[in-house]
Subunit: 460 residues, 2 copies
Amino acid sequence: MELLTQPQHLAQALRSRREQLAKLINFPVVLWSGGYRSRNFPANTYPFRASSHFLYFAGLPLENTVIRLENGQLHLFKDDPPASSALWHGEMPKRDTIAEIIGADGAFPLSELASRVDNAATILVQDPITQTQQVQLLNRPVHPPKTATGIDLELIQAVIKLRSCHDEAALTELRQAAQISIEAHKAGMAATTRAKTEAQIRAEMEKVIVSHNTQCAYNSIVTVHGQVLHNEEYFHPLQTGDLLLADVGAETTTGWAADITRTWPVSGQFSPTQREIYELVLAAHDACIEQMKPGVEYRDIHLLAGLKIAEGLVDLGILNGEPSDLVERDAHALFFPHGIGHLLGLDVHDMEDLGDLAGYEQGRTRSERFGLGYLRLNRPLKAGMLVTIEPGFYQVPAILNDSENRDKYQNVVNWEKLEKFADVRGIRIEDDVLITETGTEVLTEDLPNQANQIEALVQG
Amino acid sequence: MELLTQPQHLAQALRSRREQLAKLINFPVVLWSGGYRSRNFPANTYPFRASSHFLYFAGLPLENTVIRLENGQLHLFKDDPPASSALWHGEMPKRDTIAEIIGADGAFPLSELASRVDNAATILVQDPITQTQQVQLLNRPVHPPKTATGIDLELIQAVIKLRSCHDEAALTELRQAAQISIEAHKAGMAATTRAKTEAQIRAEMEKVIVSHNTQCAYNSIVTVHGQVLHNEEYFHPLQTGDLLLADVGAETTTGWAADITRTWPVSGQFSPTQREIYELVLAAHDACIEQMKPGVEYRDIHLLAGLKIAEGLVDLGILNGEPSDLVERDAHALFFPHGIGHLLGLDVHDMEDLGDLAGYEQGRTRSERFGLGYLRLNRPLKAGMLVTIEPGFYQVPAILNDSENRDKYQNVVNWEKLEKFADVRGIRIEDDVLITETGTEVLTEDLPNQANQIEALVQG
């Protein structure tokens, strides 16, 4: 069984994680994995995804399983499959086998759990049925993480501390997710000149992910309408002159994610206007990564991206003014309305189930500014953090045609000049950047991002 | 937007469905579509799947939408997306546009619904959050369908009557799902001699489904361990001598499913033992389809499959005895433990959310017999029904090594002879069969199922 094919170092890595946890808190913790979610009828389920907090400490995607952590010890609570299950599902690993793989200090049926949850902290999972179990078993309200209090909040803060900086076992998985995602993007580029629709390119990319026996970490974006930021439609035909934006990433069996975006010309050749904007976005991307190291504020990296984009747009004659003034006036956000990136780990927006508790340093809150409010991460960088860097340029009709924006930025934007860039609807370049002791390591650097390299990959 | 690319005949087909419904019941009906289910954090969702009952009458996969049906009229309840949504999701079709596409007789915001649900029947959806909304809005308990009572049960019985026999609009979609699934299976076969793992073949097959902008109707089974009936692992290497069993089907954008299984030799050539069993399963498959027409009991088709399998196994010397006696003693079920098939439509096991209400004629219940109890459909066939026919042969250790079975069938099975067939772990052949006025039409007949044809497709 696949669960049995885990690397030797798993148990050791898990032990180290719970020992770290024990240094931060002094109360027991009970974490649920969650269950299958039914799609259109009970037996037809979505692929199971265990809670990321559970995965971090338990290592394996075990359904309907609970772990109890205390003083560096892990106790596993899981029912063995009934004998009848072997008929349909084959022989599944038994609780004791799993306990050995993950290095548990004890293993019990679920019925034993009720007597061992006194004064335990937990984190609410996503699956509503398991949520009910959590509340019933703990016999107290369990609030959604962003409004958690008491020991639940203390636990959350401790988990954030641990999960924010990746250990070697995590990095091994994250590198694997990155490599598979790189291969997927190359396959997408190579298939483009023969493809007729967005769906066909998506299919080539996800084929790579499925063939490595991994899953998509999130619903793929593969679109010639990159200006629709959360586009999940794939039916458009590809037309010469279109840019294709692909935001596709793999997730390993044990849940670790990659998150990569590339934008390439359907024809294999950027138009002059497309190339100018592409180079501008890439310059912002490179400038950000150049500046990143422990201690640097991620918010400043975001503002640097805004500045570089503003500078580039001034150079192209699309914006008028002093770049730093333009950023203060959020003029960059007309074309770059989202944040420069986010944490990446077991979740593609790592720990976003915790609201802004993970993303925002204690005491900081979301800005009211249009050009800052969508920033998902606002902390000083630390060695071991993995973040995305994903500047973009988009012509979003809802922004650029908004009458308030038209008034506010009437003289800031050269609207006539902008019209010449009509064939640039959306460009994003996104890489996964690990903060090291001295600077950065780009986990996705094997995927080219220079315009000429991209063209070569598309042309094949 | 893709929602806008619907065929002209959709509104007409939907009108006809609700007029049919109005002939069967005389109370209002309120059906919910359901919402997105979050995976590891709220914004990272599984792909949305609307409730099949909703899809049947509303035609489009609209999230968080409710329809009210009464006297052949359809009222749509849906909130228009907030203006801010255009920034991230692009311009989405408005309620009035959707109402026009589906031919609604009225369209209202969701807030209007509360005043229009008096005495309305409903069917509980799968999504727990929407379930809560159903109960709150109707202000009464809403039981799971298999324990529904009163008007909810009357509604369920009426829906079963309608959904059991497919109209032309449904058949158009079902044929499309079948054709895409056929292409997927051919791609899987063609990729096999170059593939190294199950996952690589799965990837080639699902690539076809994704490239047509459709989804998998269910989690694919692609395995060299076909004896594990609900196998969802894909990590095994392919070895010469293995049979690969692939149970993979597409689902169209509006939810209509296909369900196809083929079994092929990894090497491109069945071994003599594999071929003998394959021919036996195919003979059972063909005999079943040959006998199907309106009025025939599906249970008898199941027993016919059992008989043909028993006959074949007697011929091969694996079973001893009179085939009809063997079936009465459930000896066929040692190797063919599941039912011959099920209803197929908007769900791959159509209407299985209703328990056995759809599958079993009123007054009939599941048999206690091992060889009959897993039958999902026990009704006389009617024109317009679409069912699967999927006989198989499996060597399931949990069955064949069971000491009770060993005792009971000690002299019925020639265990020594059986050992010679060790390279046949699992074979299934599954097609989608439409009942016509005079007999059948096999929607999946363009996918070959003869051993020689299969070998040719694998050899390329």
